[in-house]
């Protein structure tokens, strides 16, 4: 993809000499595929995400893919949350696209309004996406999201799921996995961490709205993620993409392990990669070599209390393994065919 004649971006000193994915300042031969000038880099350097942030990575790939799919005719609406805060500390902005933040719980509704405005203005080519974290999507924004789904508004909603309220300091959300330690589910007492038999599966709930497209994706499978965004943008009506984005700060994982953690979530069966159209599963990404859930859990301090031995912990680990096994069964993830991950 790298082009000998590619123009170099204006030098920003802090970027010079780094080998960050997408860096256009390094030698042309050393540039990665993401540094191609065909990529819009809608979310540019200079934002203030933590080291190893899965959400920043996921957002950049998702938005760039959406930009390519729409010939750069894209408007993004952002819920309150990490992505909003780290990209737009006034007077700076990392967004190279028309972007608006309104509130925590209304991104889906605001995006529906933008899509309606584009319809009345006859700007069919301009497409709308909404994006938010798991709290803004699954909890406080759930009403607006369900409304946007059932009206089949022409919006792609992207949820960057890092499994807790990270922006406010790692509090539990309805996406927090069972047993996980957060600031409001501390690893204390007889039942440390998040309680069992809690939480919800938003992709399945989205599917229950019979909307044109629902998919899950992960920062560990970026080509798959891009393909799903491209597919989503080829369709009209309400579409939902749920992206698993590890948060080193909140999960207690090493920043350099973000991709590894995300990959183990897929390989253990805890985060299945699926696609569905009009409520029917159309594709899943098979797991070549399933791994036990402990491989995934042990990289994260939020589960450290589970791994200290004892009968009770063994029962809990078995329960988490059952969740993974059920996912594998439900979506037939372990099967004989050409694997994609």
């Amino acid at each position: 993809m790298s082009d000998e004649n590619a123009p170099e971006q204006k030098v920003k000193f802090y970027q010079k000499g780094t080998y960050t994915v997408g860096n256009r300042l390094v030698n042309v031969r050393q540039r990665s595929v993401q540094a191609s000038m065909d990529r819009s880099n809608s979310l540019t350097c200079g934002h203030r995400a933590c080291q190893g942030c899965g959400e920043a990575l996921g957002a950049r790939y998702a938005i760039d893919a959406a930009m390519r799919a729409t010939n750069n005719q894209l408007i993004a609406i952002n819920a309150t949350g990490c992505l909003e805060v780290f990209t737009t500390p006034y007077p700076e902005t990392s967004w190279q696209i028309p972007w608006m933040h309104s509130l925590f719980g209304n991104a889906a509704a605001v995006a529906a309004g933008v899509a309606a405005a584009m319809r009345v203005k006859g700007l069919k080519q301009v497409r709308t996406i909404a994006q938010g974290g798991d709290g803004g999507t699954m909890d406080i924004g759930f009403g607006c999201l369900s409304g946007m789904f059932e009206r089949n508004d022409d919006v792609l909603y992207i949820c960057y799921d890092n499994e807790a309220y990270m922006n406010t300091g790692v509090q539990r959300s309805s996406a927090t996995p069972v047993a996980a330690r957060t600031a409001t589910t501390p690893a204390m007492g007889a039942n440390p961490g998040n309680s069992f038999n809690s939480g919800k599966n938003l992709p399945l709930i989205a599917m229950a709205h019979n909307i044109p497209y629902v998919a899950t994706a992960s920062v560990a499978a970026l080509h798959d993620l891009e393909a799903k965004v491209t597919r989503a943008m080829s369709l009209h009506g309400a579409r939902y993409l749920h992206i698993h984005v590890p948060c080193p700060l909140g999960w207690g994982s090493a920043p350099h392990d973000t991709i590894q953690v995300a990959r183990l979530a897929i390989k253990s069966g805890l985060f299945p990669l699926i696609e569905a159209e009009h409520g029917m599963v159309t594709a899943t990404v098979p797991i070549r070599q399933p791994v036990p859930v402990t491989d995934y859990l042990k990289l994260q301090k939020r589960f450290a209390h589970l791994l200290r031995g004892g009968e009770e912990n063994a029962r809990k680990l078995a329960a988490i393994q059952t969740i993974a096994d059920n996912n594998i069964k439900r979506f037939n993830l372990v099967r004989k065919e050409a694997p994609r991950v």
Binding site: Q73, T88, W95, W99, M100, G113, A116, V120, C144
Partner: protein, 416 residues
Amino acid sequence: MLKQMEGSRAVAEAVGLCRPEVICAYPISPQTHIVEGLSELVKEGRIDNCEFINVESEFAALSVAIGSSAAGARSYTATASQGLLYMAEAVYNASGLGLPIVMTIGNRALGAPINIWNDHSDAMSMRDSGWIQLFAESNQEAVDLHIQAFRLAEEISCPVMVNMDGFILTHAYERIDMPRQEQVDAFLPPFEPIQMLDPARPVSIGAMVGPEVYAEVRYLAHYKHLQALERIPVIAEEFQARFGRASGGLIRPYRTEGAELIVLALGSVNGAIKDVVDQMRADGHKVGSITVCSFRPFPLDALRQLLQGVRRIVVVEKNLSLGIGGILANNVRMSLRGLEQPVFTVIAGLGGRPITMHGLQECFTKALAGTLEELHFLDLDWEIIRRELHHARSERRSGPVAENMLKLRLQGRSDV
């Protein structure tokens, strides 16, 4: 064109004449007939090129309008009471973002106890939200204010709430002079946003602002209201020139020449007040009234000019700031700062309690005689309040207050 029609239907048609591009609707009494009317107008194709969106809550209704307005479409919604509270976060957000959305409020009381009837508690809850708040005295004025509201909102990039009394106006059938489309088109140019979401010119809207300039941003919002104080009378004058009738403006004095007593109020109760003023003038009392049309921005200077030196000032208002009194009266006092003129408050019509001319006249007569309390509750049944207070004092678990009061009221009736 003169028509006999319901207030809500009239407002729906007036909004339609303003060529809205996105209308968001969520039902709540007494606003429902407005959005029902609009849904018909859109379905019939009488409003051209308009998206009518049925949403799942008032919070979503205003949020959709925020999105469509930011994308450059003229946007409208309507609500009342609990609905306005439910959308509160978006109400502040819309004004903070400077989006010229127009919203009708069919004014209604707030629960608990749940009550669907008229008062101004809902609008007052949003008095500091940064929205322009206009109050219609009649259905004709409600029609006219909507046309002026879009013009004002889009001129200064600030959302406008048009308040009309629930049921008293929304459900009343009156003669309406409905403007013609070409008249409205000449008065209200197409919406040209000062900033919008546009792939050709990408901007980030709604960024985080810290202590370094937040106060300056808020001052600029305040400045918009100061601008509105100047623009509202100008727009009302132009409206009168084009449409041939006076509507809107900041305030409307009625028979205030040489008045010893001036009564102020918001909304439809001004009709009854003017009738009482006429009666008392006929009896030789020097009484006048002022209709406050613009509550936000509040016309401090205009009121001060008219009220300066007036011996008695009475504010009749359909809200109660608990423990303090009337909110409008407090604002009127602000207009008289430095002057020693007492302002009397008459709390009336809460939760739809009828305000009778008899009751008003009694208050005004007392005010002239100097015997009106500073805070007076019109037609309050002190007997059931006394009995309930006694009951609550004597029994810790005395039961739900609202239900007890109803019981006592019914018992009182059966005693008669």
